[in-house]
Point group: C2
Chain length 458, copies 2
Amino acid sequence: MSKKIPHRLYLTEDQMPKQWYNLRADMKEQPAPLLNPGTHEPAKVEELYPVFCEKLAQQEMDGTTRYIDIPEEVQDFYKMYRPSPLIRAYNLEKALGTPAKIYYKFEGNNTSGSHKLNSAVAQAYYAKEQGLAGLTTETGAGQWGTALSEACSYYNLPLTVYMVKVSYEQKPFRQSVMRTFDADIIPSPSNTTEVGRMILSKDPATGGSLGCAISEAVEKAVTTPNTRYVLGSVLNQVLLHQSIIGLESKLAMEMLDEYPDIVIGCAGGGSNLGGLIAPFMQDKLSGKANPRIIAVEPASCPSFTRGKYAYDFCDTGKVTPLAKMYTLGSSFMPSANHAGGLRYHGMSPILSKLYHDRYMEAIAVEQTKVFEAAVFFAKQETILPAPESAHAIRGAIDEALRCKETGEAKTILFGLTGTGYFDMTAYNAYLNGTMSDYIPTDADLQKGFDEMPVVKEA
Amino acid sequence: MSKKIPHRLYLTEDQMPKQWYNLRADMKEQPAPLLNPGTHEPAKVEELYPVFCEKLAQQEMDGTTRYIDIPEEVQDFYKMYRPSPLIRAYNLEKALGTPAKIYYKFEGNNTSGSHKLNSAVAQAYYAKEQGLAGLTTETGAGQWGTALSEACSYYNLPLTVYMVKVSYEQKPFRQSVMRTFDADIIPSPSNTTEVGRMILSKDPATGGSLGCAISEAVEKAVTTPNTRYVLGSVLNQVLLHQSIIGLESKLAMEMLDEYPDIVIGCAGGGSNLGGLIAPFMQDKLSGKANPRIIAVEPASCPSFTRGKYAYDFCDTGKVTPLAKMYTLGSSFMPSANHAGGLRYHGMSPILSKLYHDRYMEAIAVEQTKVFEAAVFFAKQETILPAPESAHAIRGAIDEALRCKETGEAKTILFGLTGTGYFDMTAYNAYLNGTMSDYIPTDADLQKGFDEMPVVKEA
């Protein structure tokens, strides 16, 4: 007999993970190393120290330590808003008429409104520990900037956030929240950096991109005494911290005698997806289980499904190390009509490697279909999802509908990364019927590919 | 030895209350009955049926049934977002340097962003059960309208929301959320009702008030076939539904071997306060315990602390029954610079009676002090509170600071009713230093008192 499954399962404080899980330790082949952009030689950890916190640079390079202790101070912070619930989507299942069992891990129950806080607090903690005077970062839709503002405020660390200009203008209240937590917010591109001035001189009307904002934040960090740059996605260290999502999900499912047949996450830079799937991918790599793992990305910024797996810059200004990843080229700018986040040109090197080696799948979905899923979900489950998260909802609904056709009672787990309270402009556009889809042409993408660096791999 | 107290305690689904608690059953004297506005005779339950759902009208009049079963369908809905956590404010305590132990019951972890959903779902359920064609209501800051929109959408019940015009304009995104859940939103006063047209003809530039919006919603309900009016606060039925807050809080504290010396809630119409304190007031009435119970209201709308305890209309248009309560007069309009909710002219008749009989205390606080507490709390506890909720935070911080002076390690419980994501205009005003306080003069209040009805009590 199966256990009675509650709507929401919260682990107790004692059950919360005390270590992060480092997926690289179990990969058959390591993701390709970062390269020095000048020499194209693998970057040494010391080369990262001018940009990153030392402890974070070490985590970035560590492909072998399977479990890494979560510092007690970070655990204490986690206890303020975690564990996050694993929710059985009874009402969604019923509304879809599917035999599938749908679970979601909801990371939106904290003021940053998303999973981003999981890595933000770790990064702010290590920065404080190193005695830094401040941090810089970029933010797109604003989830990461908000999370880092909260974490930095907690540790009394001054923070400068370069916010992609189009989001800055679409989401005025995001700025207010970050200001409440004392962050300094600059719309990017700006004239506060050389790279910003250069980008503006080429295209004064640009709405910016994550790639631009990263360049500015990095420049600001390396030109300000005792200041470092932090990033909310893409990097190995971020996936490490976000593994808490997957670890909690797996433990909660075990308590219910459940195991997912399909794990679904939205994919921008890969922070949530990489964290959610980590322990399930571990099982897959070891042969212990064989769940399907599906990334859902926007059709307007399709790095997995239409990008190239190649070395590229992580930023538009071409100041960062080169990473091998699925990329649309660092000059790629998503259409201004693309709502929400998931607008990064590249993808986590770890996930890129796993996708390349066929351990996971990826699909791209159009935004009107995403918002259709978001509104349907909200009405059934009473949570208004972030547009980013709604990509995963779209994927989960489509899989559940396939189960309806085939009659299979599959167990689906998806990551509901956050809430959409600051995305109402986009919801309005959808409700008013003025939202449109945009799919870049092959010619559009070729421009980005043409600007990618030529790297001879060993 | 004291138990190890976790940061957050969630009850399990099995531990969730299956009955609401009706505080009236334990009151030494009942609150004064509603009066027919024409005859000044006590209203009979049948007189309420044209306006309210029958089941809700019966709950309104029921002063004797101590526990009332929560319908299973409502329990199922509750399980989508409840139980809400009881949180130990370790960081706030540390930042204040107080020996006090501070707990808060956080009701903001649902998309409506507040405790209002607890009564909204009950009211929508009974409306559906009665086979109604639709509902009308009013909303001030928007929490109630959002909650009811969610509940009505779930039960496929059409909903018209009259939203106080000043809030409608200050909070554009609140409307969008309600529209996502299919509600029809009308800024009040409007020309869709006779009473709205009358109010507009007297003062075309008015920002509206809850009293106006109630009049319009009631008129709309009674002039639309098979439609009824529902209200998110003040009424006995609402306090009944909200008792789940207090019941969960008390059970969670018992599990921690704790009992509050002081219980603090914000007070507008009394929905959260009445729900939170219910089981503690039960202990106080029976002599089992003697916690201090403190209502915190805005200095700009001070019904407890400066109002009269008298019969008054519940609305500006004077169409509702008369309720005996602490009131500023149904024509009272809070200053336009008053941010957030808690802008009702009256107060729950139950709480009014208990306050009059000295079972509880009340204080009024100025809004800049409230926002100061809100920002301080957000930085320590990572939750951005609603302005309404921040009144309770202000009260709790002040009590904790008194403990610091006296060295007493009191146990404080307060209600954190919701989140402030839709209140960023007000946060901006505070952060920019443009927020001001407004305290009505005695002459200002006298105008409201002069318009109150003259009622001879038996």
